[in-house]
């Protein structure tokens, strides 16, 4: 493990006991914990600057507007967007993807078109495309995953065959929330662009964990959630290339996104306003901006090494448990490990771990079709972030040993 500062002191929630044991939080892929700086930013906003944005000329409103738009600029820098106007604030990854599926899908998809996804997509990057395909008469196809435990990642040879000129859009996850696979996103975007397909990258599991540059990736759209990267709940981002955003019709309409309204009709502002109808989550956006600062301060390349280092260590140590099935690649993986036992169900594993103060996630991880393909209904997942330590992996392994002993006798 590379050297890593102990940042636990920055996270108030970690300093508690659960069931009489110190909390070991290994569920960051579901949601990350929040550093003091982010919590303080919310408090500061509500105690000093709270006001509605955009339409106000008084001091508070100007401060709130500056802070909100400042957050947009901050986030744009964090993902290396060419222009802050390419950052649309949404509730999260799910809403961001639905926005593209609705607005872009309705305008561009027609019968005979193909939407391409992969077999490892989260329901949030899968069901919206099923719906868009159904509504438009387009066909949805999937890039297969390779290997009995999906250890081979995406089948890039199959991708070559699947990426025909009928493919109008290719939606894929940067990092799988179940397998830990890191997909070659830049390469996938490059190949998609070669056939003229628009790319949608689900960066829910990547943007807070690895350095990310949308221009280097060459994607058209990219979606993520603040709550998975130390930000507040309820805020997320749709990044879109300016040229595409400018042509994107709004999905929601209402206050703040119109230029002119009469009783017959309305005209829209340019992006980003056009795609942000109604009062936005002002405090949430500000909190997300501060989360960007926090992660940048830790050095994002170092975070990537730390998280995947812990995951590799966990993979190694877990593989010593009898009759364990480990999913995803052994090596190049992001900060999580998913596993299953043939005779002990994930729910029982999670309940027993909780007894030891360890927070794990058990279930299908919004990945039902992939589970089914792998012959599973659920797995247990341990996921790591900046505040986790190698010692917590030892605690996890001991806890699992006790659980197996109980059920196996």
């Amino acid at each position: 493990m590379p050297a890593w500062p102990d940042v636990r002191a920055d996270f108030p929630i970690l300093h508690q006991q659960v069931n009489g044991k110190p909390l070991v939080y290994l569920d960051s892929a579901a949601t990350a914990q929040k550093p003091r700086a982010v919590i303080d930013a919310l408090v500061r906003y509500y105690e000093r600057d709270n006001s509605n944005v955009h339409r106000g000329l008084h001091a508070l409103s100007m401060r709130a507007t500056d802070a909100y738009e400042g957050a947009r600029t901050r986030v744009a820098k964090f993902i290396h967007a060419a222009d802050p106007a390419e950052v649309i604030f949404t509730r999260g990854t799910t809403e961001s993807i639905n926005l593209v599926a609705h607005s872009w899908g309705r305008a561009h998809l027609k019968p005979g078109d193909v939407v391409l996804a992969t077999e490892m997509e989260h329901h949030s990057n899968l069901v919206p495309w099923q719906q868009a395909a159904k509504a438009s008469g387009a066909t949805l196809r999937y890039v297969p995953v390779l290997g009995a435990n999906a250890e081979g990642g995406l089948d890039l040879a199959a991708l070559d065959r699947l990426l025909t000129p009928s493919v109008k859009l290719f939606a894929f996850t940067h990092i799988s929330n179940t397998l830990g696979t890191v997909n070659p996103a830049a390469e996938l975007c490059r190949r998609a662009r070669a056939v003229g397909a628009v790319t949608v990258v689900d960066a829910a599991q990547s943007v807070g964990h690895v350095p990310l540059d949308v221009q280097a990736l060459g994607c058209d759209f990219l979606a993520f959630s603040g709550h998975k990267m130390c930000g507040p709940t309820g805020i997320g981002v749709l990044y879109g290339r300016r040229a595409l955003l400018d042509k994107l019709a709004p999905d929601e309409t209402g206050g703040g996104m119109v230029v002119s309204v009469d009783y017959e009709g309305a005209s829209w502002k340019p992006a980003p306003e056009r795609l942000e109808a109604g009062t936005p989550d002002i405090a949430g956006a500000i909190g997300l901006g501060v989360a960007c600062d926090y992660l940048e301060g830790l050095d994002r390349a170092a975070i990537a090494r730390h998280d995947s280092g812990l995951a590799r260590l966990a993979y190694e140590k877990l593989s010593t448990l009898p009759n364990i099935r480990l999913l995803g690649p052994a090596d190049a993986r992001s900060g999580l490990v998913s596993f299953a036992f043939p005779d002990v169900h994930a729910h029982d594993v999670v309940t027993f771990a909780d007894e030891d103060g360890i927070a794990l996630r058990g279930g299908h991880h919004c990945n039902q079709p992939l589970m089914r393909k792998l012959g599973l209904t659920s797995t247990t997942r341990a996921s790591f972030y900046v505040y986790n330590q190698p010692g917590e992996i030892d605690a996890l392994v001991s806890s699992l040993q006790r659980t197996l002993k109980f059920f196996r006798g």
């Binding site: 029982d348 007894e355 209904t377």
Partner: protein, 151 residues
């Protein structure tokens, strides 16, 4: 192991989990229903051989945690021979047990599930098989889900 956990994973439950009773497709079934626990992907099929209003034979199949498997298994042993109305009444009692922890004297093995009530997230596990069985009794083709708001 804590008292709560020991109470949850009682010997009866572990036993039914390891050696489920009446598991598999019932060849003589004339009713079947499927149950889903959407929050975890657990599934349970219940097969009934109904003779008029009475459950002549019953089996289950599916996958899930120890609690859901043991509950479905134990349920089959309790429902065999019961009428639809009796099954309904028994579920009411079972539901009371898993949500409140109260153990009515007259019910024997079902009381093993009283420990569930301190783990509210597991109530859905314990009731999955029952939901499917009641749907099968009603002849309801729609899959049962534990996400109803009466749980």
């Amino acid at each position: 192991m804590s008292a709560d956990l020991t109470e949850l994973y009682q010997q009866v439950i572990l036993d039914h989990n390891r050696r489920p009773r009446n598991r598999g497709r019932l060849p003589t079934a004339n009713r079947v229903a499927h149950g889903d626990n959407p929050s975890c992907g657990d599934q349970c099929d219940v097969f009934l051989q109904l003779d008029g209003d009475r459950i002549k034979d019953i089996s289950f199949d599916g996958s899930g945690c120890a609690i859901s498997q043991a509950s479905a298994s134990l349920m089959t042993t309790q429902l065999k021979g019961k009428t639809a109305a009796e099954a309904e009444a028994l579920y009411k009692k079972f539901h009371e047990i898993v949500t409140t922890g109260k153990e009515p004297e007259e019910i024997s093995d079902l009381a093993a599930f009283a420990g569930v009530h301190t783990f509210p997230a597991r109530i859905k596990c314990a009731t999955l098989g029952w939901h499917a069985a009641l749907n099968a009794l009603k002849g309801d083709a729609a899959p049962a889900t534990t996400e109803s708001h009466t749980d």
